[in-house]
C-alpha cells in the first residue's frame, strides 16, 4: 500500500546517501506536519503515515515521533489499521512506560474481544515487546486463555509462546498454579502446532521448577515414540522433507534433557527404543537428495545424541553415538563435520565413551591440518584438548604445536593456553614440559601470556629434578640470534636461580651466561630489563668471579642514571647491596626462591575466563576443591595483609630501605605475582631478612596498593585494621580510594597517602590537610589516576586521639569533603625489644604499681589461632618473646615507645591466649 512512496524513494535516492537523507527528511517533515495539523486524520491516512515511518526506520533512520498515532491505530476497528499499529509498536517500542499503559489498554480490549485474529495480534504484541509492565498486566490472564477449553488452536499456540516470553523476561510475575497440570496435557493435543508450542513452554518452565512438570516426561516419551517409531502415521504438513515433525522431535528431546533418565523400567525401555531408532535411521539411505532432508534428520539425531550424553548412563548408546559422529567427521558437508567435532567434545568427558572418542584422533588431527574453515579447525582444537589424556598427550601437544605455526591469529592465544595446560597436566617427564613451553615461546611468543611463563617458572622452581635441564635448555635457546622477549624473561629468571647448575661447563661459564643475557638487555622493554637486573644481582651471589663485571655494568650511566625510575633504583640498590653486604648477607638476601604453594594453575583460570564456565570438560576437580579449602583457610588474612608479608619490591618503592625487600628476586611489574591475584605466604627468606636489618622492621612491607578489594565503607572500620598493620586501604567509597603505606622508626613516622580517583572524571581543587606538618597534595586528580601525599610524623609525647585528615575536592559540579582518621596510634611508635626471661620479669615487677596495669578478659571475636595471635602481637609493634612463659598458649610481648622528649616508657604486655590484639589498643591508650 505504500508502494509508490517506496518507489519514489528508490528512484530519487538511488544516487547518493545525501540525496536519500534529504528526501527522507523532507518526507519526515511532511508526516510531522500532517500529524500536528489541525485537520484530524482519518484512519487510512494515519495508517499510511505510520507505515511510512516504519519504512524509514527500517532503512536505518531514527524515528522519534508517531508512537501516539500508532497507539491510536490499535483501537481502530479495521484490521489492517490495527495490524500496522501493532507492527509499529512491536518494532519501535521498547519500554516507554507512558505509552505502555496506553498500549496495554488496547491489548486488554483485543484480548477480551474473543475474535481469534485480534487476540492473536494482541498476544504477538505482548510477546514482541515483553516488557515488565505488560507482564504485570497480563501474566495472570494468559494462562487462563491457554487452558480454556473453547480457545482456538491458533490462539493456544500464541498464548503458550507469549507466556514463555513473559516467563523469560519476568519469571517472578508468571504464577504457577492449577493451570500447569493442564498445560502438560497439551502434549497430548491433536494439533501438532499446539504440541510444538506447548513443548517449548514446558521446557522453559521445567528448567525453572522441574518438580512441577515431572509428569511431562512420560507424555513426552510417548509422543516422541509415536512420531519416531511408527512409520504408518501420516503427519501431513508436519512432515518436512520426509522427516516426521523434526521440530517437535527436537523440542521433545530438549524437554527430556531437563530430567534424569526415567526410573520406571518400561518408560526407560521405550525411550531407549526411540533413541536406537533415531540412530538406526541415520544409517538408512536418504529419502531425498535435498540438503533439507539430511539437515532435518540430523538435527533430530544430534539432539538425541545430546540426550544420550546428558543421561550418560547407557554405554552402548554412548558408543554408538560416538561411532555415528565418527562417520560425520569425514562427511562432505562442512556443517556436519563442525557439529560432529562439537558433540564429540562432550562425549569425550564421559567415562563410557572417552576411549571410543580417542580412536578418532587421526581424523581430528587431519581436520586440523586440512579444514579450510577456521571455525571448524577451532572445534578440532577443542576436541583434541578434550580427548587428551596421559596416553596421547605427547602426540596431541606435538600436533597442536605444529598447527600453531600457521594458525589463525584469532585463536593462537587460546591454543597456547591449551598446550601449556596439557603439557603441565600430563607431563611425566618434566624435561618434556620445559621443552614444550620453550617451543611455545619460540613459535608464538607474542601470544604467550604472563600466566604461561609464570607457570613454567613456578614449576621449575618447585621441581628439583628439572632445574638443571631447564637452565641448560634456556641457555641454549637464548643463543638464537633473535629470541622472543618472553624467552629472555624465562631465561633471565631461570639462569638467575639455577645458572650455577650449568656453570661447570666452560661453554656456559658464569661470564658466558652473563654476557649472553646482557646481549639481550638493550633490546628489551623496561619490565624485562628490571627482571634482568635482578638476575644480575643473583649472579653476583652465585658467582663471585663475575661480581666486578656486573658491578661495572650496574655502575654505567645507562643504568645508574636511567630515565626509568624503577631501573635506576634497582641499579642503585643492587650496586650498593653488592658493595656493602658481606657474602653471608648476600647469600641470605639472594637465596634461591622458596617453592611456590601448589594451587590451581593460573593458566587454567585464564582459559576459563576466556571461554566462560562449563566449557572445559577436563578440569581437575580435586585441585579446585583443594583450592577452595585453601581460600577458606586463608580468609583470615585479607589481601593487603598477605601482600605486606611478601618480599616484593613495590612499583613505586620509596628510597633505600626497600633494598631489604629485594631478598627474593621478583619482577615487580603490575602482575608480577606468579601466583595470580593473591600473594604467596611469607617465605623463609623474608623472616631471616628482618634479623639482618632488624632496625627497621616496618620497612619490609611495601605492599602494592591494591585498588580492587571491596573494603568496608566506613573509615572507622578500616581504622581498626591498621592497629596491627601499616599498609592497606584506609577509606573507600564510589569516588575515592585512600590507600596508606606507613613506616615508623623510633619516634618518627612517615606516611604515604595515596588518593586514587575511581571515577572517569577529574577531581579539581583537591586539598587534604592535617594538623601535622604535611606537604600539600596535588590540586587535581586525573580520572583513574592516583596521587601521593607524604606525611612525616614525630611523636612528641604520648597521645590518645588519632590525627584527622581533612579532604576536599570538586567532583563534577559538587564539592565533596571527607574527614578520615589517620591510623596513627601510640603503638606505632613501639620499638620491639628482645629480652630474656630474667630481664623480662625484672621489668615486669618494676611496673608493679596498680594504676600501671590494666587487665581485661573478653570473649574472642575470631577463631583462636596461635599463628594469627602471634602475627597480631608482632604487628602491634612489640617483639614476641618465646620461652618467657613456659605455657605455649600464653604470649609475651615487649616493646619500647619512643617519644621526642626522650621520656622513655618501658611497657610490657601480657596477654593470655584469649586476647586478640585489637583489644590491646584500649589497654594502651588508657595506660598513658
Amino acid at each position: 500500500m505504500v508502494w509508490f512512496f517506496f518507489i519514489f524513494i528508490f528512484i530519487f535516492t538511488g544516487k547518493s546517501k545525501e540525496a536519500e537523507i534529504k528526501r527522507i527528511n523532507k518526507e519526515l517533515a511532511n508526516i510531522r506536519s500532517k500529524f500536528k495539523g489541525d485537520k484530524a486524520l482519518d484512519g487510512y491516512s494515519k495508517k499510511k503515515y505510520v507505515c511510512k515511518l516504519l519504512f524509514i526506520f527500517l532503512l536505518g533512520h531514527d524515528i522519534d515521533f508517531g508512537h501516539m498515532e500508532a497507539v491510536n491505530l490499535l483501537s481502530s476497528n479495521k484490521y489492517t489499521e490495527k495490524q500496522i499499529g501493532y507492527l509499529f509498536i512491536s518494532v519501535l517500542v521498547n519500554s516507554n512506560s507512558d505509552l505502555i499503559r496506553l498500549i496495554n489498554n488496547g491489548l486488554k480490549n483485543d484480548l477480551a474481544s474473543r475474535n481469534p485474529t485480534y487476540m492473536n495480534l494482541a498476544l504477538h504484541c505482548v510477546a514482541n515487546v515483553g516488557s515488565r509492565e505488560m507482564a504485570e498486566a497480563f501474566a495472570a490472564d494468559i494462562p487462563r486463555v491457554l487452558v480454556a477449553g473453547d480457545t482456538m488452536d491458533s490462539v493456544k499456540q500464541s498464548a503458550a509462546l507469549c507466556l514463555l516470553r513473559l516467563n523469560r523476561t519476568s519469571p517472578d510475575l508468571v504464577p504457577m498454579g492449577e493451570w500447569t497440570a493442564r498445560v502438560v496435557h497439551l502434549l497430548n493435543d491433536q494439533h501438532l502446532g499446539v504440541v510444538t508450542a506447548a513443548t517449548s513452554l514446558i521446557t522453559t518452565l521445567a528448567q525453572k521448577s522441574p518438580d512441577d512438570f515431572k509428569t511431562a516426561v512420560s507424555l513426552a516419551i510417548a509422543r516422541l515414540s509415536r512420531i519416531v517409531t511408527s512409520a504408518s502415521i501420516d503427519l501431513q504438513d508436519y512432515t518436512y522433507y520426509f522427516v516426521a515433525a523434526p521440530w517437535l522431535s527436537v523440542k521433545l528431546l530438549r524437554l527430556l534433557q531437563c530430567y534424569p533418565p526415567p526410573e520406571d523400567g518400561a518408560l526407560r525401555g521405550r525411550l531407549t527404543e526411540c533413541l536406537e531408532t533415531i540412530l538406526n535411521k541415520a544409517q538408512e539411505p536418504p529419502k531425498s537428495k535435498k540438503v533439507q532432508h539430511s539437515n532435518a534428520k540430523n538435527a533430530v539425531l544430534f539432539e538425541a545424541i545430546s540426550l544420550i550424553i546428558h543421561h550418560d548412563s547407557e554405554p552402548t548408546l554412548l558408543v554408538r553415538a560416538c561411532n555415528q559422529l565418527g562417520q560425520f567427521l569425514q562427511h562432505r558437508e562442512t556443517n556436519l563435520r563442525y557439529l560432529a567435532l562439537e558433540s564429540m567434545c562432550t562425549l569425550a568427558s564421559s567415562e563410557f565413551s572417552h576411549e571410543a572418542v580417542k580412536t578418532h584422533i587421526e581424523t581430528v588431527i587431519n581436520a586440523l591440518k586440512t579444514e579450510r574453515d577456521v571455525s571448524v579447525r577451532q572445534r578440532a582444537v577443542d576436541l583434541l584438548y578434550a580427548m587428551c589424556d596421559r596416553s596421547n598427550a605427547k602426540q596431541i601437544v606435538a600436533e597442536m604445536l605444529s598447527y600453531l605455526e600457521n594458525a589463525d591469529y584469532s585463536i593462537r592465544e587460546e591454543i597456547v593456553l591449551k598446550v601449556a595446560i596439557l603439557a603441565e597436566k600430563y607431563a611425566v617427564d618434566y624435561t618434556w614440559y620445559v621443552d614444550t613451553i620453550l617451543n611455545l615461546i619460540r613459535l608464538a611468543g607474542d601470544y604467550v601470556s604472563e600466566e604461561v611463563w609464570y607457570r613454567v617458572i613456578q614449576i621449575v622452581i618447585n621441581r628439583d629434578d628439572v632445574q638443571g635441564y631447564a637452565a641448560k635448555t634456556v641457555f641454549e635457546a637464548l643463543q638464537a640470534p633473535a629470541c622472543h622477549e618472553n624467552l629472555v624473561k624465562v631465561g633471565g629468571y631461570i639462569l638467575g636461580e639455577f645458572g650455577n647448575l650449568i656453570a661447570g661447563d666452560s661453554r656456559s661459564s658464569p661470564l658466558v651466561q652473563f654476557q649472553l643475557l646482557h646481549s639481550k638487555f638493550h633490546l628489551c622493554s623496561v619490565p624485562t630489563r628490571a627482571l634482568l637486573l635482578s638476575s644480575y644481582i643473583k649472579f653476583i651471589n652465585l658467582f663471585p668471579e663475575v661480581k666486578a663485571t656486573i658491578q661495572e655494568v650496574l655502575r654505567s650511566d645507562s643504568q645508574l642514571r636511567n630515565a626509568d625510575v624503577e631501573l635506576q633504583q634497582r641499579a642503585v640498590e643492587y650496586l650498593r647491596l653488592s658493595c656493602i653486604a658481606s657474602t653471608d648477607i648476600l647469600a641470605t638476601v639472594l637465596e634461591e626462591m622458596p617453592p611456590f604453594p601448589e594451587r590451581e594453575s593460573s593458566i587454567l583460570a585464564k582459559l576459563k575466563r576466556k571461554k566462560g564456565p562449563g566449557v572445559l570438560p577436563n578440569i581437575d576437580d580435586v585441585r579446585q576443591e583443594r583450592e577452595k579449602e585453601r581460600s577458606l583457610n586463608g580468609s583470615l588474612d585479607d589481601g593487603s595483609d598477605a601482600a605486606s608479608k611478601t618480599p616484593f619490591l613495590a612499583p613505586c618503592a620509596p628510597p633505600p630501605p626497600s633494598v631489604l625487600s629485594a631478598g627474593t628476586m621478583t619482577s615487580l611489574y603490575p602482575t608480577a605475582d606468579l601466583l595470580g591475584p593473591t600473594a604467596p605466604p611469607p617465605s623463609g627468606g623474608a623472616s631471616l631478612l628482618v634479623d639482618v636489618f632488624s632496625d627497621s622492621l616496618s620497612a619490609v612491607a611495601h605492599a602494592p596498593l591494591d585498588m580492587s578489594p571491596a573494603s568496608g565503607p566506613m573509615s572507622d572500620d578500616n581504622f581498626s585494621r591498621f592497629i596491627c598493620k601499616n599498609n592497606g586501604v584506609l577509606f573507600e567509597n564510589q569516588l575515592l580510594q585512600i590507600g596508606l603505606k606507613s613506616e615508623y622508626r623510633q619516634n618518627l613516622g612517615r606516611i604515604y597517602v595515596f588518593f586514587g580517583n575511581k571515577t572517569s572524571t577529574q577531581f579539581l581543587h583537591f586539598t587534604s590537610t592535617l594538623n601535622i606538618h604535611t606537604k600539600p597534595a596535588e590540586a587535581t586528580v586525573d580520572a583513574g589516576a592516583q596521587v601521593q601525599q607524604i606525611i612525616n610524623i614525630e611523636c612528641i609525647s604520648d597521645f590518645t586521639d588519632a590525627p584527622a585528615l581533612d579532604i576536599h575536592f570538586r567532583y563534577g559540579g559538587t564539592l565533596q569533603s571527607f574527614v578520615v582518621k589517620l591510623p596513627v596510634m601510640l603503638n606505632k611508635f613501639f620499638q620491639p625489644t628482645e629480652m630474656v626471661s630474667q630481664d623480662f620479669f625484672q621489668r615486669w615487677k618494676q611496673l608493679g604499681a596498680p594504676q600501671q596495669e590494666v587487665q581485661k578478659i573478653f570473649k574472642a571475636q575470631h577463631a583462636m589461632d596461635t599463628e594469627v595471635t602471634k602475627a597480631k602481637i608482632i604487628g602491634f609493634g612489640t617483639a614476641l618473646l618465646d620461652g618467657v612463659d613456659p605455657n605455649p598458649t600464653n604470649f609475651v610481648g615487649a616493646g619500647v615507645i619512643h617519644t621526642k622528649n626522650t621520656q622513655m616508657y618501658r611497657l610490657t604486655l601480657r596477654t593470655s591466649r584469649d586476647t586478640v590484639s585489637q583489644r590491646l589498643s584500649d589497654l594502651l591508650s588508657e595506660q598513658f
Binding site: 508502494w3 512512496f5 531514527d62 495490524q83 504477538h124 500464541s158 502446532g193 510444538t196 518436512y240 530438549r254
Partner: protein
C-alpha cells in the same frame, strides 16, 4: 532464539527481529559487527559460528543473508531449517520471492515471521497453517480497503 536478521550482500539490513529487550544502540552495534563477520565468510564455510556468547546460524539465499542468533544449547541444524522454512513461506506467499518483495512488502514479511516464530520459538511448523493465517488476514484487509487512485497515494491529489 535471540534475534533474526536479514541483510543484503551490500550490508543493507532488510529485516530485524529481536526476541530479547536490547537498546537501540546495542542493536546497531551488534548488527554492524555481525554483518562484517558473516559477509567476510567464504561460500564453502560452515553455516555456524561462535560469536560473543551466542551461536550464529546463517544461510545465504540469492543476495540475502538470513542470520539467526541462538543460545549455546540450541540445535544448529534445526535453526538452519527454521530459516529455510521461513524462506519457503515467503516464497509461497510472494511467488518466488526476491529481495525487492521484502523491501516493498516489509510489513508482510514481518507478519509472516510473526505467524511462524513467536518469542523466538517456533509457533507452527506447518506451511499450510501459517499461510492460512496470513491469507485470512489478507481477506480482512481487502474487505475494509477501498481502492484509491495512484495520485492520491502519492499525496498529489
Amino acid at each position: 532464539m535471540r534475534f533474526m536478521l536479514l541483510f543484503s550482500r551490500q550490508g543493507k539490513l532488510r529485516l530485524q527481529k529481536w526476541y530479547t529487550a536490547t537498546s537501540e544502540r546495542d542493536k546497531k552495534k551488534m548488527v554492524r559487527e555481525l554483518m562484517q563477520v558473516v559477509l567476510a565468510r567464504k561460500p564453502k564455510m560452515c553455516s555456524f559460528l561462535e560469536w560473543r556468547d551466542l551461536k550464529i546460524v546463517y544461510k545465504r539465499y540469492a543476495s540475502l543473508y538470513f542470520c539467526c542468533a541462538v543460545e549455546e544449547q540450541d540445535n544448529e541444524l534445526i535453526t538452519l531449517e527454521v530459516i529455510h522454512r521461513f524462506v519457503e513461506l515467503l516464497d509461497k506467499y510472494f511467488g518466488s520471492v526476491c529481495e525487492l518483495d521484502i523491501i516493498f512488502n516489509f510489513e508482510k514479511a514481518y507478519f509472516i515471521l510473526d505467524e511462524f516464530l513467536m518469542g523466538g520459538e517456533i509457533q507452527d511448523t506447518s506451511k499450510k497453517s501459517v499461510l492460512k493465517a496470513i491469507e485470512q488476514a489478507d481477506l480482512l484487509q481487502e474487505e475494509d480497503e477501498s481502492p484509491r487512485s495512484v495520485l492520491e497515494e502519492m499525496g498529489l491529489a
